[in-house]
């Protein structure tokens, strides 16, 4: 059994990491050249308006005051108002989040199902022509830039063949009454296919190669030889014995991948005009929208750290060799 105090310690450690990240993010954005207000210049702005804005967003306070205020508000879960949208940051994150999660989860699942099966198969087909052809293809798709893959897919499947729509979550003029009605509409999934396939094409390399190398290792082990001696079919050996053991590291990669899913995908979202968190982040950074950028990054960090924590706890159950018991 695991020790209660060690979990508390891990939890405190988690809080500490969050504080460090929050501090770095706070100062990083303020050390960037240029005032956030410069993003507005060029619009009809007077001095009074400028001063009002400075006051309104607390930019007239000293850096230290701003920092303490920021920590205090973050503790309360209040990320403030976005400079540019004049809307609570948390609302904006919550609005963009479902789209990003769906896109990334969908792609992750496709990529991991395909990757695991193909990886196991290729391990079995070691030193054959199939392996010789497949591995370079996998490596190419893994290293090809996503935006390039995206643009090619868009040009070919959408603009040339007209099989898939070219972006967004709906055609022009379609209204989803609620998030639920969106998520249950076929029209939405029709728009999801192309971006998620491109993202999956990019993601499948990791589980595939991971699975393949694990399989190659596992298949050297005694219990596989034993199974062969028992006269089991090779199919049975691969699926029931080797693959199950090779899956553990792939599962870890998947969990972390889910954590990253919350961050959205900047490139794919931009190419396919997908309204997710990635685009929100890019906008926030490029327009020096401190509160939005800070809020979004801290939110993402928190999710990632929590996912890591959960993954660690899960290991206790998946693999009995891992223990959190302090060794005295």
């Amino acid at each position: 059994m695991f020790d209660f105090w060690s979990i508390i310690r891990r939890f405190l450690y988690m809080i500490f990491v969050l504080w460090v990240v929050a501090t770095i993010i706070f100062f990083m954005f303020r050390l960037m050249p240029g005032s956030p207000l410069t993003a507005f210049i060029g619009t009809t702005f007077t001095d009074e308006q400028h001063d009002l804005l400075v006051k309104r967003f607390g930019l007239d306070k000293s850096l230290f005051e701003q920092y303490t205020l920021f920590l205090f508000n973050t503790l309360k879960g209040d990320f403030g108002l976005s400079f540019t949208y004049n809307k609570p940051v948390i609302d904006m994150i919550v609005e963009a989040l479902p789209n990003s999660i769906i896109l990334t989860l969908f792609s992750l699942i496709i990529a991991y199902i395909f990757g695991v099966i193909a990886g196991a198969y290729l391990a079995w087909k070691r030193d054959t022509l199939i392996e010789g052809i497949s591995i370079p293809i996998v490596l190419t798709t893994r290293s090809a830039p996503e935006f390039w893959l995206g643009m090619i897919a868009l040009a070919f499947f959408s603009f040339q063949l007209d099989i898939f729509p070219s972006g967004g979550t709906s055609a022009a003029g379609v209204i989803y009454e609620t998030t639920l009605s969106k998520l249950t509409s076929l029209h939405f999934y029709y728009h999801l296919i192309l971006p998620s396939l491109v993202l999956a094409l990019y993601l499948q390399g990791l589980p595939l190669l991971l699975m393949r190398s694990n399989m190659l290792e596992v298949m050297q082990e005694d219990f596989v030889t034993m199974s062969k001696m028992k006269g089991l079919s090779s199919w049975r050996i691969v699926i029931y014995h080797a693959a199950r053991n090779a899956l553990l590291p792939v599962a870890t990669a998947f969990t972390l991948g889910v954590g990253f899913a919350f961050g959205g995908n900047v490139v794919i979202e931009t190419v396919f005009s997908w309204p997710g968190l990635g685009r929100l982040l890019v906008f926030a950074v490029s327009s020096s929208d401190y509160p939005l950028a800070q809020g979004a990054f801290i939110f993402l960090t928190a999710i990632l750290i929590i996912m890591n924590f959960l993954a660690d706890l899960m290991y206790l159950f998946l693999d009995p060799r891992v223990s959190y018991k302090t060794k005295n």
Binding site: E48, N86, F159, S166, G168, R279, L280
Partner: protein, 554 residues
């Protein structure tokens, strides 16, 4: 023989000494300088222009290098740190077009009046009492013909002073699908192109098409009648909310929600509200609503961005028969354009409680996020999904109802996808194209059912010089720098033909106020060299030196 040689040698050495003595005593070398510009990705044309200009100016004996930086950094240095000791010398800059800029007042006054030099738009630090007088006078001159004379004078005055090195007015590129809209049914507005309310009202859908589907590369930030949030946002607010006047296709203000207006005297104007108008919720538009719409922005804490546009209003009163009287603090020729055609009319019964609820919360009207957006404009708000699309529908009860049934704006962050969707017909009106004009021209040729409309921008691209610092405090030096730049090269090489030459801050698109012939002037490095030599500047060892006795003050 020996004697002769030594005499030559002595003569040579003494002349060398003399020249050294003279140059060190009286003529100072002009320092190396930076020309600020945005990075290439942010705008290929101005970036290329900067490189060409630096090269040209170096032929005069200057040492100028291009300093390409992102916008926040450039704005920080040029705009906010303009009064610092170690600030900028030369920068690429631009003024963009907006409906209210079709009145020459904003550029004439704000860019060059001495009162805006320390913090406002006059970041170049141009201070000239004679010009101030001109700028002030045109503002209070109500008769257009008399005002035209003043605006012409102002343009010539600035050209003689070489206040800025104007480069080009870009051409705006817009296109629509003429298999979905009747060819020629889009309306061009002076200086803004065909992306304007007159097009949205007048464009005729054909072949079963009902909707206008536009696109924007930028994100929509807010749809709020009290918040000037972004360029794209204003395309929406201006058609959901009516204004008393609208800037017409010719660039002049004309009656809209106001049936008529009448100057009682130079500081008093009576506006008659059109009868029978109603809000999108069915309630009638009243004189009280009009007064409320102009009173709300007077609270600068609550509606900061619109407050400058009502600053000149002393008071308002209802005179009966749908007439509102505006009493102004001072006479202002631009009042029609910058106030009456600018302030969104809002229903008092809906917005008054919202503003009251915000009092004392520390938040202002810009934070209003509403379920309903109620205006009286030709389009009603239907739906907005952030980073995706905005849907508006026709207001059939409007006095000037549009022919299209829906106006849809898709947010598509990348240029290629926008073009792809336009070719496919998913977007049928290309409203925001920032890509290569040549690519668009090719597509128009290939497709066969696209109407491309190019128009001259009200805005302009220029190189600004810091008048606060030598040598730019010398009009001869500024003239030489400006005239060294070949404007044909700017148009053809930097802007690839997608621009026209500029000679003043009033675009040729504003046919009435643009001064004829102001874009026609001689340029060239030889001309510049002559101006510099005449003014006493000298070149030594390949570097330009100040006239004798002039030194840098910093």
């Amino acid at each position: 023989m020996y004697k002769k040689l030594s005499a030559v040698l002595v003569g040579f050495i003494s002349s060398l000494l003399l020249s050294f003595f003279v140059s060190s005593a009286s003529a100072e070398e002009i320092r190396s300088m930076k020309l600020w510009a945005r990075e290439q990705a942010a705008g290929p044309a101005p970036h290329t222009a900067a490189l060409i200009i630096a090269q040209t100016l170096n032929e005069l004996g200057l040492d100028i290098s291009v300093n390409a930086v992102p916008w926040p950094q450039m704005a920080d240095q040029v705009w906010y740190k303009r009064l610092d000791e170690d600030t900028w010398d030369l920068t690429m800059w631009q003024m963009v077009s907006r409906p209210e800029r079709s009145d020459p007042d904003e550029f004439t006054y704000n860019l060059f009046h001495s009162s805006t030099a320390d913090k406002g738009y006059n970041f170049i630090g141009y201070v000239d009492p004679a010009f101030d007088a001109l700028a002030e006078k045109q503002r209070v001159t109500m008769d257009p013909a008399a005002r035209k004379v003043l605006i012409d004078k102002a343009q010539q005055h600035l050209a003689d002073a070489a206040a800025n090195a104007y480069l080009v007015h870009p051409l705006l590129n817009f296109a629509y699908d003429n298999s979905q809209f009747k060819d020629g049914s889009a309306v061009e507005q002076a200086g803004l192109g065909i992306k304007n309310i007159w097009t949205y009202l007048g464009i005729e859908p054909i072949n079963g098409n009902q909707d206008l589907v536009a696109q924007s590369l930028d994100e929509i930030q807010a749809i709020n009648p009290f918040f000037i949030s972004g360029g794209t946002d204003s395309w929406i607010t201006e058609i959901v909310w009516d204004r008393l006047l609208r800037i017409g296709p010719d660039g002049t203000p004309q009656p809209w929600a106001a049936e008529s207006f009448n100057w009682v005297n130079e500081q008093t104007i009576d506006v008659t509200l059109r009868a029978g108008m109603s809000w999108h919720d069915g309630k009638p538009v009243t004189v009280d609503d009009v007064i409320f719409s102009f009173e709300a922005p007077m609270n600068a804490e609550m509606v900061p961005m619109y407050s400058p546009f009502v600053k000149n209003i002393e008071s308002m009163e209802s005179k009966g028969n749908n007439v509102v009287r505006f009493n102004l603090k001072s006479s202002n020729a631009a009042f029609l354009t910058s106030s009456l055609a600018k302030i969104n009319l809002v229903p008092k019964h809906y917005y008054e409680p919202i503003l009251q609820a915000l009092e004392g919360t520390g938040n202002n009207a810009e934070t209003i996020i509403e379920e309903k957006r109620i205006g009286s404009g030709p389009f009603k708000f239907v739906d907005w999904r952030q980073r995706e699309q905005v849907i508006l529908e026709r207001n059939s009860d409007h006095f000037n109802p549009p022919k299209i049934s829906r106006w849809i704006m898709k947010e598509i962050p990348n240029v290629e996808a926008s073009l792809g969707q336009f070719r496919k017909g998913e977007v049928n009106f290309l409203t925001d194209y920032k890509g290569d004009p040549a690519v668009l021209a090719n597509i128009v040729e290939e497709d066969g059912d696209i109407t491309l409309v190019k128009s001259i921008d009200v805005g302009f691209q220029y190189m600004a010089m810091n008048h606060r610092r030598a040598p730019f405090d010398d009009v001869n030096f500024r003239r030489a720098v400006s005239l060294a730049i070949d404007r044909d090269v700017m148009v053809n090489a930097a802007w690839a033909g997608n621009a026209v030459k500029a000679g003043s801050h009033v675009s040729p698109a504003l046919t009435y106020y643009h001064k004829d012939g102001i874009t026609e002037y001689e340029t060239g490095v030889e001309l510049a060299k002559k101006i510099l030599a005449d003014a006493g500047y000298t070149v030594k060892n390949g570097r330009l030196h100040y006239p004798e006795g002039v030194a840098e003050k910093h």
